[in-house]
């Protein structure tokens, strides 16, 4: 099951958090597809960023996850939700990695 954060924007040019949100809530593609009244294949295309949804579907997804649309879809790479909500600074793990890189240089 592909629940990894999206690496690139895909064909649609949009980044999204659908796979992460789905994994957090333990929902299968089929369950989400049934709730959205679409084919489960379409959920896969959305997750990979290969399909940009209609406004209706995007709003339905926002409603389903209880999030605004811009929390699910973005034209820019998305940060982890926790980081976006609780802190604007870099996570400690990223700071340590940066420090190590600087030391090696």
């Amino acid at each position: 099951m592909n629940n990894q954060p999206q690496k690139g924007p895909g064909e649609s040019g949009l980044y999204n958090r659908i796979a992460v949100l789905r994994a957090e809530r333990g929902i299968s593609r089929q369950e989400l597809a049934d709730a959205m009244d679409v084919n489960y294949q379409t959920i896969g295309f959305l997750e990979r960023g290969d399909y940009s949804p209609s406004l209706k579907l995007a709003l339905s997804l926002g409603e389903y996850f209880g999030l605004p649309v811009e929390a699910i879809f973005s034209k820019q790479p998305l940060q982890p939700l926790s980081q976006q909500v609780y802190g604007t600074g870099k996570p400690k793990i990223a700071l340590i990695a940066e420090q190590e890189t600087e030391e090696t240089l």
Binding site: M1, N2, S28, R29, Q30, A33, D37, V38, N39, Y40, Q41, T42, G44, F45, Y51, P53, S54, K56, L57
Partner: protein, 195 residues
């Protein structure tokens, strides 16, 4: 698009694109072999043979759609393009011999006939692609018919064989019935699991 289809009572998994491509290739190669052999063996077609071939090729596209490709029926891999509920019918209790060979589709209330927004967009896209190919073919057929009628040399160095316009017409007839579904099956990626 459906993940499997039933042929001769056997369920065949078609989730992989490679399999779908093989199916499309087999259908068109089979059609080409059938047509070439018909034109070779029948040498100079008489009127009656032309009519028979026309009558044979027309349902060929229909049957291929009905049992393999789908799109314009409730069988096959591609869901019906119409996006409307099928007419209700009753499956015969005592199926005739044809039903034994070719599996009947499930009853209309169980048929997955609805296309979502992505599938509708794909449908329109493949029809656009198929329309371009078929319209170009129609121009070629018309050109061949014109040159044949006026006995003009083809591209200045070759005369048009008498059977060629008819052969191209038959090919266009088959392709126009099947090309959108074939493009769809050819281009869609491997299907994922619903989990």
């Amino acid at each position: 698009m459906r993940a499997e289809f039933v042929l001769l009572g056997k369920r065949i998994n078609m989730t992989s694109r490679a399999r779908r491509r093989w199916l499309v290739a087999l259908i068109y190669v089979g059609f080409a072999v059938w047509m070439i052999s018909a034109f070779c063996f029948l040498d100079h077609l008489q009127d009656v043979f032309e009519s028979m071939m026309f009558l044979a090729f027309w349902p060929a596209g229909f049957l291929v759609n009905r049992y393999l490709l789908g799109g314009y029926g409730y069988g096959g891999l591609v869901k019906p393009f119409y996006n409307t509920q099928p007419w209700p019918y009753e499956t015969p209790r005592d199926p005739h011999w044809l039903c034994l060979v070719l599996q009947l589709p499930p009853s209309p209330d169980k048929v997955d006939y609805r296309n979502d927004e992505r599938e509708l967009r794909q449908r329109d896209h493949v029809h656009f692609q198929a329309y371009r190919a078929v319209s170009v073919s129609m121009v070629i057929v018309t050109m061949l018919l014109y040159m044949r009628r006026h006995e003009r040399p083809f591209l200045g160095f070759l005369s048009v064989p008498s059977d060629l316009p008819f052969a191209v017409t038959l090919a266009v007839l088959f392709v126009s019935q099947t090309l959108p579904q074939a493009i769809l099956l050819w281009t869609e990626p491997d299907m994922e699991e619903p989990r």
